[in-house]
């Protein structure tokens, strides 16, 4: 291969090849309240489990409640009575006044700090001038090792500055020394429970041998004079150092044609070394035999990680660039076991459980997965979503359920209990920059190295349990004014074990517990929840008004009067008065016109008009639905009088200020309904002032209408609005939600760009198949909105020309009109072409199948709107406007 001396790069001049030892022992307990899990703690967790992993930055305050309650198992939906009472998703109240009720059980941040103190760890926040020393570069020997630390600190928690970014670490078998490596660092440190000091600096030797830095280091299990460490040079070779006798390079392994990604010593056979390389091989080296080339295992894929099974001599496992994991038996280097797909993207880290049966793997898809290697099915038994992809994962000794992980571009190291995957057990924030690798010294002390040039030791025992910082109580409101809340019922500080419940698995799944017990457990937060009506919002009146308000612009007088009546009937007396006032404001313009016209008009006609109007008002009291027909009817029979009242008459004063005050008042009250309706009614007024909030009012009113499932009214509002953005709101990315035809699971979270998928998540049956020919439908998909069974359009036409029942035999009368039509000898001429759907929906068409639709559907509960319209809608999937035009709701005659 190419000569690597071809590149004669100049070394970085500012980093001295053998920098003097800088010993800097600062005592710091990990922060009692980690910044990540403090005030915004719920936020980051919420993002993670909500799969919005792209940005760790906090979302708006509004999201907080929803996301946290979904993530930390305090979710409202876990309270069964919620589902029963509410019947709809508990959302966030979007009324003008924030209906945000922050539930808390007293475990706030301050209280949590107290909890940490009570658990015995002294609270020391130190580490002040540390970063300055990092930057100083040439501060060699200025701070001697401090063997006795001030009594306030706890043992095993310190940092040690090594003067160079670190990549990896490995400890001697007795854990008295640790080797740390980085791009410019190759050092061996003496460590005890109070601090670390530099023992050997191998950097100079490395540089002399034209071997720059190291990407990985492993300390061989041999001790005494045979002690060895192995490193991976950044420029290729594996270097074996004989540190037991002299600090020299014992052997350089250059057989790999591409870079080596990981090395690993066998725990049982001290002289066996495995190396994983990008040249698609895993090689096994026996360090006792110098000249023998290693055993080659051809993996046919870039090998990122390799590990020995601690419980077996011959069992190794390798993780690949493609996301596969494969087990090899060293006795058969020709072929490994079958690869299995573990992660999307490369596998970054693997670690065998001390039991030798379970394997933890971290991958680029930002998950840590736990596998049962004895189960042939190769299904992950636990999945932990992480904030970034893991750079290193390791099981905690003597705690069968816990593991620690460091992440790429992340300064904290997190300890997880696999039974509670969404909240880390501890978050250790010892480092200022990315933590690169971790190592458990024993079950309580974790060693970490970081790009901030430090080696750190942390006493994990006694650290704050980060789950305790999460508020246990949550509350959320839905649009019907119901408040759902949960309160956690913590039984004590160590309630974790008691809150475990048997894992709800698939019935056939072979259940395995990691610690060898019979039943796998998961953590379930112990919580009580409830729902109560808090009467903050009169939704009945809102719905009534939404359904009955007229939003027609132009005819202000009539519309205001109608709306006034509607508001009165909804017991909104103040609103009713507002409408009356508006009527007076804007209708008096007609008065002078009539006065003028009286010269020509017959007086009795004007009188008659007044009388008719009074009649109208009476009628309105018992029937407020027929306004349109009434308005369309000529109120004044005289053509002449109409002409006169239509004459433009300029008002000589403006209502600007009044209207502005009025709208501001309603906006303050959170009554977007009034704001929007008034704006729409007055839309034609020329001197209407500009409202900069009007877009928001429209937005929240439409949002509110959607929450009450008043889709058609929401559409009418957005259509009536003159603001372009609101007006075109539902013209882009219209989504029609469907449900699986075999298990009725709603088909959710589909990207708007896609046109749906071919299989259901739950029952894994093909979704868009035709019930008649059982083939996948491409192009126009027609389906029954009630039983969800779909068809090719043509097959639907053919079938329903014969029968009214669903062809699947589900018994649903998909097309009940068919019976009637058959009786009337009406054949399917109407169904021949899609454009005829327009005709279908026209109530005036004499033979339309829907003509018998009762008008009550307008007044029925909005939830029934969908259900009250059997029949078929045709969807051209890619074309949103078509979809809209033919969706079952759009043909409801609005107004």
């Amino acid at each position: 291969m190419m000569n690597r001396d071809m590149l004669k790069l100049r070394k970085d001049p500012t980093i001295p090849p053998s920098a003097a030892a800088t010993v800097n022992t600062s005592t710091t307990n990990a922060f009692p309240v980690s910044p990540r899990l403090g005030g915004t703690g719920g936020d980051s967790r919420g993002n993670r489990s909500g799969r919005q992993r792209t940005s760790p930055k906090g979302s708006g305050a509004g999201n907080n409640v929803a996301s946290v309650s979904a993530s930390s198992n305090t979710s409202v939906s876990s309270a069964p009575q919620t589902a029963a009472n509410g019947g709809s998703a508990i959302g966030y109240n979007t009324l003008g006044s924030p209906g945000y009720i922050s539930g808390s059980n007293g475990l706030g941040i301050g209280a949590a700090g107290g909890g940490g103190a009570s658990s015995g760890a002294p609270l020391v926040v130190s580490n002040g001038g540390h970063s300055q020393q990092d930057g100083a570069g040439s501060n060699g020997g200025q701070s001697p090792l401090q063997p006795s630390i001030s009594p306030i600190s706890s043992p095993n928690t310190y940092k040690f500055d090594t003067n160079g970014a670190l990549w990896a670490l490995s400890a001697s078998p007795d854990y008295s020394m640790v080797a740390v490596v980085g791009r410019d660092v190759l050092k061996i440190l003496n460590v005890n429970e109070w601090g670390a000091e530099e023992a050997i600096n191998l950097k100079a030797v490395g540089v002399r041998n034209n071997f720059a830095g190291s990407m990985d280091v492993k300390w061989g299990p041999t001790t005494g004079r045979d002690a060895k460490i192995a490193t991976i040079g950044t420029n290729g070779p594996i270097v074996i150092w004989d540190i037991g006798t002299h600090n020299k390079i014992g052997r350089t392994i250059k057989e790999h044609t591409r870079s080596v990604n990981r090395i690993c010593f066998s725990p049982q056979e001290p002289n066996l070394l495995l190396s994983a390389s990008s040249d698609s091989t895993i090689r096994l080296w026996d360090l006792r035999v110098r000249d023998k080339p290693g055993t080659v295992m051809d993996a046919k894929d870039i090998v990122r990680e390799v590990q020995f099974n601690p419980a077996s001599t011959n069992d190794i496992v390798a993780g690949y660039e493609s996301g596969n994991i494969q087990r090899w038996d060293l006795r058969n280097p020709l072929a490994g076991e079958k690869k299995f797909m573990a992660h999307m993207g490369f596998v970054t880290s693997l670690d065998y459980h001390p039991s030798g049966r379970f394997l933890a793997s971290g991958g680029r898809d930002r998950t840590i997965k736990v596998w049962d290697m004895e189960d042939e099915k190769r299904r992950e038994i636990h999945t932990i979503p992480t904030i970034q992809y893991t750079s290193k994962v390791q099981w905690r000794p003597n705690r069968p359920y816990q593991l620690a992980a460091s992440f790429k571009d992340e300064s904290t190291v997190q300890v997880f209990d696999v039974r509670r995957p969404y909240v880390p057990l501890h978050v250790l924030s010892q480092h200022d920059k990315d933590a690169t690798s971790i190592l458990w010294k024993d079950s309580d002390v974790l060693w970490t190295v970081s790009k901030d040039k430090t080696f750190a030791s942390t006493l994990v025992k006694g650290q704050t349990i980060s789950a305790d910082l999460l508020p246990g109580g949550k509350a959320a409101m839905n649009c019907y004014g119901q408040l759902a809340f949960t309160v956690s019922t913590k039984s004590g500080p160590d309630s974790f074990e008691r809150d475990l419940v048997p894992k709800p698995g698939r019935p056939n799944a072979k259940a395995v517990a990691i610690d060898g017990s019979s039943e796998p457990m998961v953590y379930r937060t112990r919580q009580t929840g409830g729902v109560f009506d808090c009467e903050l919002f009169n939704h009945e009146a809102f719905i009534y008004c939404a359904q009955n308000y007229s939003m027609e612009a132009g005819n202000i007088r009539v519309v205001c009067e109608h709306n006034s009546n509607v508001a009165w009937q909804a017991n909104k007396y103040r609103d009713s008065q507002t409408w009356t006032a508006l009527k007076l404001f804007f209708s008096e313009m007609a008065e002078p016109a009539i006065v003028v016209s009286q010269v020509d008009a017959v007086p009795s006609e004007a009188m008659m008009a007044a009388v008719t109007k009074e009649d109208e008002q009476k009628d309105d009291d018992d029937d407020n639905d027929s306004l349109e027909t009434r308005a369309a009817k000529p109120v004044v029979p005289s053509l002449f009088a109409i002409k006169v009242s239509d004459a433009p008459v300029k008002r000589n004063w403006s209502h600007d200020d009044t209207i502005r005050n009025l709208l501001d008042f309603y906006a303050d009250q959170g009554e977007v309904q009034m704001c929007v309706t008034i704006l729409l009614v007055l839309a034609d007024e020329e001197d209407l002032p500009e409202f900069k909030l009007s877009e928001q009012w429209f937005g929240s009113y439409i949002d509110l209408l959607s929450r009450f499932k008043l889709w058609s009214i929401a559409t009418a509002v957005s259509q009536a609005c003159k603001d372009v953005r609101i007006h075109t709101m539902n013209q882009d990315s219209t989504t029609i939600h469907t449900s699986c035809s075999s298990c009725m699971k709603p088909i959710l979270n589909r990207a708007p760009s896609s046109s749906g998928f071919w299989a259901c998540d739950r029952c894994r049956k093909v979704l868009s198949s035709c019930s008649v020919c059982h083939k996948t439908v491409r192009g126009i998909f027609t389906w029954c909105t009630q039983c969800s069974h779909g068809f090719h359009l043509q097959h639907a036409q053919e079938w329903f020309s014969q029968s009214a029942e669903c062809p699947t035999g589900c018994g649903h009368q998909c097309f009940p009109e068919m019976l009637k039509l058959q009786r009337e000898q009406e054949q399917m001429s109407l169904w021949q072409e899609t454009p005829d759907n327009e005709k279908l929906h026209d109530p005036s068409h004499p033979h339309a199948p829907h003509h018998h639709l009762p008008p009550r559907s307008l007044h029925s509960h909005p939830q029934q709107e969908l259900a009250s319209h059997p029949g078929h809608s045709t969807l051209r999937a890619a074309d949103s406007t078509d979809a809209k035009a033919s969706s079952p709701l759009s043909y409801l005659p609005y107004n």
């Binding site: 190419m2 970085d12 930055k57 791009r183 950044t234 870079s259 493609s322 079958k338 680029r364 979270n749």
Partner: protein, 414 residues
């Protein structure tokens, strides 16, 4: 701005590249069922078609051969989906005989059982003819699939395929699976990995990049093929999609800016003016604010980025203008981002650009980095010298061998 601009008729490069070892040019075949997205992939990756335009592509009716002249020259064959390999007129030996990689495209949004059956028969047929083919399976159109569903789909496809191949006695056939979509960078990343397998110099390039990274404090370095935005080599640290995406976006930015301000974009009329300017030692500097769309994971939203793009007068050479490499006329650009990351681009030769990601602190020693990158370029040149020398030597040997064998009455493979 596509490879077709360099086509065989290109007066400068077409002939010399097309003539030499036409036989040994690796072939990359796109196969799959009809409407699975083969032509779209080819157009998007190699012809810079925007993904939305691919909706209007006609279905391919005959084998479409596309010569790509780049760092390595290869041929992309786009097969029509309805092609039947069991047709006796179909010359499998001719098709699969010299193929480098076979890319099989599966539409993940469709029922893929039929596609898997076709994949199986294709692999069996191709492997029988040429066991050296690398098989790449693109699980395509995953843009609409949810995360969980993606991995389930891949697992299912991988499981089924490898099981079937094992049943057919082809355990040794290695299939690589990629989740791709033309709407994001995944298709480029997948193609990068496919192309990398065809590059014999890959270990050398990777090693060079490793040394460069280690000695200059660079976090990640990519060697990009500028036009297709495929990376042909990177250092050995794992590639995360964010860093690839940002580097690939940078190429777009540079190409856009250089086509506005670069020499190649300026019409012939102003050429004279530029000739006068050319000798000026100091290049213009273009300050640009607000690259906020470079979302970074740890920047936390206050990403005020600053782009300092300083191109030489031959900046247009990054564009499709084929300018002879050599001399000092290469594109060079630095973008500093709000989160303390610096993007460093330098043109290596007419097809390749080196893009590095590094921390702002490291970039204080820019002179050192410049020098090291210069060393890297020289090393690259030597690699290609070697390749060229190797090729001529091999040709001579082959000719000699041929003569000998003809003399002996044998006919060898060469």
């Amino acid at each position: 701005m596509s490879y077709s601009d360099y086509g065989d008729n290109d007066p400068i490069y077409g002939d010399d590249l097309a003539d030499e070892d036409r036989e040994s040019r690796p072939r990359l075949m796109l196969m799959g069922l009809r409407r699975s997205g083969k032509s779209s992939i080819q157009r998007v990756v190699f012809h810079k078609m925007t993904p939305t335009e691919t909706l209007f592509l006609e279905s391919t009716s005959k084998i479409n051969k596309d010569n790509i002249h780049s760092f390595i020259d290869f041929q992309v064959w786009d097969f029509p989906g309805q092609m039947d390999f069991f047709d006796p007129t179909f010359d499998t030996t001719a098709i699969f005989g010299e193929v480098g990689a076979l890319v099989f495209v599966i539409d993940s949004q469709d029922d893929y059982m039929e596609a898997l059956a076709r994949l199986h028969s294709t692999v069996v047929a191709a492997y029988r003819v040429n066991p050296n083919i690398t098989f790449e399976v693109f699980i395509h159109k995953v843009d609409g699939l949810s995360e969980d569903y993606k991995i389930d789909t891949q697992r299912d496809i991988q499981q089924t395929t490898t099981d079937e191949l094992a049943d057919a006695g082809l355990e040794n056939v290695q299939l690589a699976f990629y989740l791709t979509s033309i709407y994001d960078h995944s298709i480029f990343e997948a193609f990068s990995k496919v192309i990398q397998k065809l590059i014999p110099q890959l270990p050398t390039l990777e090693n060079l990049l490793n040394i460069l990274c280690a000695n200059s404090g660079i976090e990640k370095a990519f060697l990009f093929d500028v036009i297709s935005k495929i990376y042909i080599a990177t250092d050995s640290s794992p590639v995360d999609s964010q860093s690839y995406e940002i580097c690939s976006d940078m190429i777009d930015v540079i190409i856009d800016i250089s086509s506005i301000y670069g020499r190649a974009a300026i019409g012939a009329k102003s050429q004279g003016y530029l000739e006068d300017q050319q000798d000026q030692p100091e290049d213009w500097t273009h300050q640009q604010d607000g690259h906020d769309d470079y979302e970074n994971s740890n920047g936390g939203g206050h990403g005020h980025s600053q782009a300092v793009v300083s191109n030489s007068s031959r900046a247009g050479s990054l564009n499709n203008q084929p300018v002879r490499s050599g001399g000092n006329h290469e594109a060079f650009s630095v973008i500093k981002m709000g989160n303390g990351t610096v993007l460093y681009l330098r043109e290596v030769n007419k097809y390749l650009a080196l893009i590095c990601l590094l921390r702002a602190e490291t970039f204080e020693k820019q002179g050192l980095i410049d020098y090291n990158v210069h060393c890297f370029k020289e090393a690259m040149d030597q690699v290609f010298e070697l390749k060229r020398a190797e090729r001529t030597r091999r040709e001579m040997e082959a000719n000699q061998l041929l003569e000998q064998q003809q003399h002996n009455g044998l006919y060898g493979h060469g």
